[in-house]
């Protein structure tokens, strides 16, 4: 495929004009290859942990270099303290819009920079959850016992939240239910109906401030459904 292993010299030319497109193309295809490998890892019954970790580290390194290259003109301090999850989001976006990144390189010369915007855009709930298919889950699959525990804890958190934050609205709801097993749909519906929500678990999803009633609870419900879907899949 390539005559030589990719050298880092490409990325060293940060002071000079942006990295030549050939180098970033190579990096991009290497990144794509790595992500495919990780996906395959995830699909295997018991992925080889060492291999997954090595590929994930390679992916992180590629992303770091790519973000360095494209962000050198427009510093993105928001991306400084991010964890790997958010970084993976940028990768996903980069992967989906390679032409935009190419455009970003040339546009960076003239000052406009769509690519750095992609990087600094805060991850919305759907895209934040999707890359969990990447490294995060690759070795979590190796210990589903722990992830099942996590799932249980998240569910518990949801129920706790409902209990404490919206007692009045939930009272009637819980009174109908026998035993500790709640009907999740009923709970969620009841929760969304009560506008005094959200609790701790949903702060990141529901925006702060009073949203307009009609639109917001539908969006909240959609996001909640999504969260539950992800939790159930785990």
């Amino acid at each position: 495929m390539f005559a030589r292993g990719l050298k880092r010299k490409c990325a060293d030319s940060e002071d000079s004009p942006p990295a030549p497109p050939a180098c970033s193309l190579q990096r991009q295809s290497l990144l794509d290859m790595s992500l495919v490998k990780l996906q395959l890892c995830h699909m295997l019954a018991e992925p080889n942990l060492c291999r997954s970790v090595l590929i994930a580290n390679t992916v992180r390194q590629l992303q770091e270099e790519m973000s360095q290259d494209s962000a050198w003109q427009v510093p993105a301090p928001a991306s400084a303290g991010r964890g790997p999850l958010e970084r993976l989001v940028s990768t996903e976006i980069l992967c989906r819009t390679p032409w935009e990144q190419q455009g970003g390189h040339s546009a960076a010369d003239s000052g406009g920079s769509p690519a750095p915007d992609l990087l600094s855009e805060p991850p919305g709930a759907p895209s934040a959850q999707a890359p969990r298919g990447a490294p995060g889950c690759a070795w979590e699959a190796a210990s589903p016992r722990e992830s099942r525990g996590g799932f249980q804890r998240s569910l518990d958190q949801i129920f706790e939240t409902l209990d404490s934050k919206a007692p009045r609205a939930a009272e009637g709801l819980f009174a109908d239910v026998d035993g500790p097993y709640y009907d999740l749909d009923a709970v969620l519906t009841g929760m969304v109906g009560a506008k005094s929500v959200p609790g701790d678990g949903f702060e990141t999803l529901a925006p702060t401030g009073a949203p307009p009633p009609g639109v917001s609870y539908k969006r909240d419900l959609g996001e909640l459904d999504h969260v539950v879907e992800i939790l159930v899949e785990t």
């Binding site: 495929m1 290859m33 942990l49 589903p144 722990e146």
Partner: protein, 417 residues
């Protein structure tokens, strides 16, 4: 012809009744015992085959001892983990011999999750002349017994039995990659990707965790344990290697959980050789102590390094094993060959199917990277990466190496003059 017979002796023991080799016959580990008299191989199907060296007879002085099948047994069976809904492979990952203390041989064999202690013993005599049983073993009617006799031991055809003596299970969440017998001969350790456990040979229902590098949040995982070994003389000292190319030496006297290393061996990166694959090829696949215990040898993808325990900042020697592959790293990454784990004693050999004569002289062939190709060199592009040797073992005292290539075992020894 004599040579053909020799080949069949070794190869036929692996091929099953069909004429083709099945995947279960692929050899996954090879290990000589401490004297070199026995050679154990483990395969993907969970079987262990032990070869024994022929005693050199006075009649055939010119002929060195050949290795013949001594014992075959099924060490591990496939299991099913109901909690995870996953099948546990029966493939033997590692075999380690215990030092011999009596007439029987003991070895440890492990798959991904369970370590077993096997006893291999010979029986060449059997008692005859029981009072209460007849020759076929049926009980005799006591009323018919009129005399008493003392049973005597009579010679019989040699029978080699392998019996499982201990099963050490349920201690590893991740895949076991190494086992190492301690110099105290009472304990051993088993290492998986994130933890190392210490066992006592007599106790199977509990083990002691001595290293745990699992992060609280698995998403922060960036490094795994790749190999571990005890010091040959100091029973409190061991080393373990990581996927980031580092080696840590730990002293069990320092604390119960050896998460803080006593020594940390890492070579600073060479900036001129930096590439995206630097980390992958720096991952150490095997680590071995020297006999003296003063040095450790490590194997990563392209090199073998020798370290002095007294110097942590760089190895004292580095051998490029197949540096010609450096330019091919991208292809190797693509076809996953870059993740192959080589063992510490191997030499780069190109396994070609034509080399089936047991007495063929094995010449390591020089591989040229590019440009003009000299007469007996091979171009790096013509290397077939599917024919690779991952498992070799070196006889402890003589120049004999056992090389496993998929389902075949080749034994090469010095030509006798």
């Amino acid at each position: 012809m004599e040579e053909d017979i020799d080949t069949r002796k070794i190869n036929n023991s692996f091929l099953r009744d069909h004429s083709y080799a099945t995947e279960a016959d692929i050899i996954s580990t090879v290990e000589f015992n401490h004297t070199g008299e026995l050679l154990a191989t483990g395969d993907k199907g969970g079987r262990v085959v032990i070869f024994q060296r022929e005693q050199e007879s006075k009649n055939q002085v010119h002929r060195r001892g050949e290795y013949n099948v001594y014992s075959t047994f099924q060490s591990h069976e496939p299991e099913f983990d109901y909690l995870k809904s996953l099948e546990i492979e029966e493939k033997i990952n590692k075999i380690r011999w215990l030092p011999q203390q009596n007439a029987a041989y003991f070895l440890l064999s492990t798959n991904d999750k369970t370590v077993k202690l096997w006893k291999v013993s010979e029986r060449d005599k059997r008692p005859e002349g029981y009072n209460l049983k007849d020759e076929e073993g049926r009980l005799r009617d006591p009323a018919t017994i009129t005399t008493l006799r003392v049973p005597v031991l009579r010679p019989m055809d040699l029978m080699v039995e392998a019996t499982p003596r201990r099963v050490f299970a349920n201690a590893h969440t991740y895949h076991i990659n190494s086992i190492s017998v301690n110099s105290d001969y009472e304990t051993y350790m088993s290492a998986d990707d994130l933890r190392i456990n210490l066992w006592n040979f007599e106790i199977t229902n509990q083990s002691f965790n001595i290293v745990d590098i699992k992060p609280a949040n698995m998403e922060e995982l960036t490094e795994v344990i790749t190999a571990a070994e005890f010091h040959p003389h100091h029973c409190n000292t061991f080393v373990y290697s990581s996927s980031k190319g580092t080696i840590r030496l730990c002293d069990m006297r320092a604390s119960a959980l050896c998460d803080r290393h006593t020594k940390f061996f890492e070579e600073p990166e060479d900036p001129s050789n930096r590439s995206f694959f630097s980390e992958i090829i720096s991952s150490i696949s095997d680590v071995k102590f020297s006999h003296s215990g003063r040095y450790i040898m490590t194997r990563d993808y392209l090199t073998v390094k020798v370290w002095d325990l007294n110097m942590e900042n760089r190895p004292i020697e580095t051998y490029q094993v197949h540096d010609y592959l450096r330019s091919k790293l991208c292809s190797l990454y693509e076809n996953d060959c870059i993740f192959d784990k080589f063992e510490c004693r191997d030499v780069t050999l190109e396994a070609s199917r034509e080399n089936s004569k047991p007495r063929a002289i094995l010449k390591p062939r020089k591989v040229c990277v590019g440009g003009k190709r000299r007469k007996d060199e091979i171009s790096v592009d013509s290397l077939d990466f599917s024919k690779k040797i991952l498992h070799t073992a070196w006889h402890p005292s003589e120049n004999i190496i056992a090389v496993a290539a998929t389902n075949n075992l080749y034994i090469f020894q010095d030509k006798v003059n």
